[in-house]
Symmetry: C2
Subunit: 294 residues, 2 copies
């Protein structure tokens, strides 16, 4: 099979073509411009690829309610041209094949369930920590949509007792994204994350905030796997710090071996690495075929 995949990010688009086993055969990437410029690039890429379906994991907020008149649209975004843009409709017009459509982070969660660190599980949480923070949620064998879609990057958290940084989320100030996304690290310490040494206090504080949100999610949702991806999580010294903070937060309350004794396999990096988003989009495309046939 030949399935198309689009990781539609606010900074760059990645388009690829792959098969039903999650193997990406070819991919390209270009910066996200105005849709009048970017969408023709997307369509050009797929024109001769013979995709039987295309899956899209998109930056948001987006409309993923199938019964909504704005289904397939990016809704409110400050990015020029993209607010109320019918991304799915534009693709459907160009390629009359089954299309899968979800948030970029739900796509990544789904990719990890199909072929990555959560393979075969019926639930997982995917958190990406980069320029922003996004959360994909998969429970009981399904991606969570609900009223809008998860926006777990903006949860309120307790503050680290030694951290006096005010936070930089324009909506919430010191929510998770305001305190722990890449730009918050840079603003707090005057240096980009990758310029700070592994032993710097920055990482203990960063781990604290991520662990707060993981703790909330573990208690509320009881996921079978917690996957942490994105640029900031390339700092692998964060993983043991986050696991330790989550363990301290839960304090033995959730009585599961996964948490009590196997935390190293419970909170993990994406099995698909940097390809989680693109493979997830591929998985959405594959699922769109199944949906049409059912």
């Amino acid at each position: 099979m030949r399935i198309g995949a689009i990781e539609a990010g606010g900074t760059k688009f990645i388009c690829g073509i792959g098969d039903e086993h999650g193997r990406i055969e070819d991919q390209i990437s270009f910066p996200t411009g105005h849709p009048d410029q970017t969408m023709p690039q997307v369509i050009d890429y797929f024109r001769d690829k013979g995709a039987e379906a295309i899956g899209i994991g998109s930056f948001g907020p987006i409309d993923i309610r199938p019964d909504s008149p704005a289904y397939g649209y990016i809704t409110t975004t400050p990015k020029p041209g993209w607010a109320h843009y019918d991304l799915l409709g534009t693709l459907k017009h160009a390629f009359p094949v089954p299309l899968g459509w979800d948030t970029d982070v739900n796509a990544a969660a789904y990719g990890e369930v199909k072929w990555g660190a959560a393979q075969g599980l019926s639930s997982c949480l995917y958190i990406t920590v980069g320029t922003g923070i996004g959360v994909g949620v998969y429970t009981e064998g399904r991606l969570v949509h609900g009223l809008v879609h998860p926006e777990g990057g903006h949860v309120p958290t307790r503050r680290h007792p030694e951290d006096h940084y005010p936070g930089r989320c324009p909506y919430h100030g010191d929510c998770l994204e305001g305190m722990a996304a890449g730009p918050a690290i840079e603003a707090r310490w005057g240096k980009k994350g990758h310029e700070l040494p592994a032993g710097h206090q920055a990482w203990e504080i960063e781990a604290f905030y991520i662990a707060e949100s993981v703790t909330q999610a573990v208690l509320l949702l009881s996921p079978e796997k917690v996957i942490l991806g994105g640029g900031v999580m390339q700092q692998s010294q964060l993983f043991p710090l986050i696991r330790e903070a989550v363990r301290r937060n839960l304090n033995g309350y959730v009585s599961s071996d996964a948490i009590l004794t196997q935390m190293d396999e419970y909170i993990v990096a994406p099995g698909l690495g940097q390809q989680a988003g693109l493979c997830g989009a591929l998985a959405l495309g594959l699922a769109a075929i199944d949906k049409v046939q059912s």
Copy 2:
């Protein structure tokens, strides 16, 4: 149809019999004693009722993983006799009919979806605030189980800036339950909740903590309805305070009319009132028949 329902609480058991429309025809209640005493009472009640199925919503933690050797057990509890007790097996032995089994709060959430405030929706959050705090989660048309089951009563929250009460959760101190369950209200103010006047600062502080957990859940899960039940929520002055605090927390970020303009219908009391738990158990029994037939 005649369906049995058991709301197995840590303080009392409620047993009832009803029909496929959620109508409870008869019910009794007795204090939760040692299982050797309580379970025969349960079995006696149902002996001549002709139940075609029985649903159980139970206090926990419980094992709800169908592939687990301890499926149907209450797992760890300080309640004498109930730790590692095979509640479901005991019932199955007495009544060879389809049995539904879930947490008390998942049952209540399910009852509300079937016949209450979340009727027809594919997602809802049910929070009960009483002697303890429990959270039931229904997403994408299914009750959430995952690794263990949701334990959302114990999420960490920010502290109210004027509240110096240390919290009374033996595991976490100032988690949601430690700060906002009935016993915390009594310990903080030296009076039971129902003895405090409606205008007392206690309610603004109580609303603050509940709103923290609702905000976390709205951002992480995007439920279509948030239902708040339990003894403490009988203080109806809490509802407008909670809605206002959630609105303030979200600050316009979640762009949905349900939240921006219809909060009064978004965060609500149980449509089934005090019967949410028992009706939910009934709904679990009904679903168990469907499961056997499918």
